[in-house]
Symmetry: C2
Subunit: 319 residues, 2 copies
């Protein structure tokens, strides 16, 4: 076993002190350029990699970020893999690693340099306020906390305008019946675009499940004339809407169009495949990581809000 190279080794090879090597890594601006070159060369030759535990110990850090899901576990299935990998990839660059926590577990069990938290509701605000470490939320909120989220408003605006452009005359919004910021933003995106185009908005809300959406459609389909496009608050809802339409043997996308929101998986297994507002989960993860890292670095300084642009993924459920 060849012991892995240490600062000391590099220092010797470069004929400088450990500190100079350390500085080249952490504060290169304090080191003479010529020395930098020599030191970097030595590091390369020795295949030097800093020992993270030692650094963490010396700096009194943990090199750990905790990712916390406050929602119920069965909601979480498909959603987080990409976010997690996006985050992890970014964290890795600073040699950070992840711990994953669920609702039940005490957030404060064991230390971390920072938190990324998702699924927070207003009830959780007291707990957030009590948190000593810096944190970033995934998900729009009106509590003034730093967050990253999909541009829900912009995304739904885009969807609405696309439906219009494709020639649908009636646009009906079917959203989620939750009182959450992301849902309000999606509704606003739809409503704004409608008003912009001098159309009368029709906002409906159902439980976020295919079954609920299907039931809603079974009850109301007769009210919607041909050439209607349903702008849905999620792909689950869109899936239910499509099922109801198919049952009634309606012509999709000819007479009826459907647009979903999410683009995680459901859009691709539906038949017809769903046109949807696709979230860039990986990017969201990366951004989450960048913000929390920066916040840690800046001693908890506010990082503001960050909206990640979704894309419209066009498929078979619209003209």
């Amino acid at each position: 076993m060849t012991r892995t190279a240490t600062l000391e080794d590099v220092a010797q090879k470069a004929h400088v002190s450990k500190m100079t090597v350390s500085r080249v890594i952490n504060h290169p601006e304090l080191v003479a350029p010529e020395l930098q070159v020599v030191v970097e060369d030595a590091m390369r030759k020795l295949n030097y990699h800093p020992n993270n535990a030692a650094r963490a110990l010396a700096k009194n850090q943990t090199s750990v970020v905790k990712f916390v899901i406050l929602e119920d576990i069965d909601h979480m299935d498909p959603y987080y893999t990409n976010i997690l990998f996006g985050m992890a990839t970014e964290l890795k660059k600073k040699n950070y690693s992840l711990q994953l926590l669920l609702k039940g577990s005490q957030i404060e069990q064991g230390p971390a340099d920072g938190f990324v938290i998702t699924g927070t509701r207003v009830d959780d605000y007291p707990m957030l306020n009590a948190l000593k470490e810096p944190f970033i939320l995934f998900g729009e909120n009106r509590g003034g906390y730093d967050f990253v989220d999909t541009d829900n408003l912009g995304g739904e605006t885009m969807a609405t305008e696309y439906a219009l452009k494709q020639g649908y005359r009636n646009l009906v919004f079917i959203g989620l019946d939750v009182k959450e910021a992301f849902e309000f933003s999606r509704e606003a995106g739809y409503v704004n675009a409608m008003q912009q185009n001098k159309k009368i908005p029709s906002v409906n809300r159902v439980k976020n499940s295919t079954t609920a959406a299907r039931a809603f459609m079974q009850e109301h389909l007769s009210e919607y004339p041909k050439n209607t496009c349903f702008i849905c608050g999620s792909d689950r809802i869109a899936t239910g809407v499509i099922q109801a339409l198919v049952e009634e043997e309606k012509d999709i996308p000819g007479d009826y169009g459907v647009i979903g929101f999410d683009g995680i998986l459901l859009d691709k297994v539906s038949s017809p495949k769903i046109t949807t507002v696709k979230q860039d989960l990986w990017k969201i993860g990366e951004t989450l990581a960048q913000l929390i890292l920066r916040k840690i670095n800046q001693n908890g300084a506010p990082q503001g809000e960050m909206f990640i642009k979704p894309t419209l993924s066009k498929a078979e459920s619209t003209k």
Copy 2:
């Protein structure tokens, strides 16, 4: 800021040396029972938590396990959240944290005490053999590597026998057209159960997509008489099969039954909802963590194979 308690603090409070405290934590059997009590009491009173970085440094460890996905990224969406959280929860107990890696990234970028790897194919074996650190695979393999997986064979046997019990006379298997151990096991589960019951097996394979499964059904449905149950290698395939059946206005579950495999999400958004063999992903994650931790602890000693029992989730697609 009240500095967090250290070994030293505990030692003073308990009137012993640091070493005794350290021993109480790591090798309690070497400490007099009476002292143990005193020390543990002091730890509690001071709310002592070991500093992981310090420990890692002293023991020359990293406290990091890497989770590596070798598959293409778009397959991965829904699958891993539960495994990851199951793992993380178990790792946390030993103060371990996670780093997440994807195919492209060099596995060996930066150190870890061990690896959990998924999506390995035969091509990857050389890389596995070159790995210095201990690893556990998620996914059956015939390469002799330690692994954890769902009991694919048992699961499909269970599905097949259930279909029989429900009175379906013809059982048709529609699996994935991949040459992977998990698929062979699922097929074997079906075939064994059929032979056991003196039935002639019919094994078919399609690409793992709803579209492919639907196309297959469109072509072959006429060959299958009423009272047939389709035993599918995945929920994606089951979804496609159901779509084709619905299109042809067949009676599900009366004339035709469908059973899937996975139970991740698709089974619940389908209409009718899919009876499926549900994997216990959380448990798989926990087990993965336990094995890699033990393997690390035992200096790489083989841990063997571990099959996690799935459950049959009964829904609307079968009698």
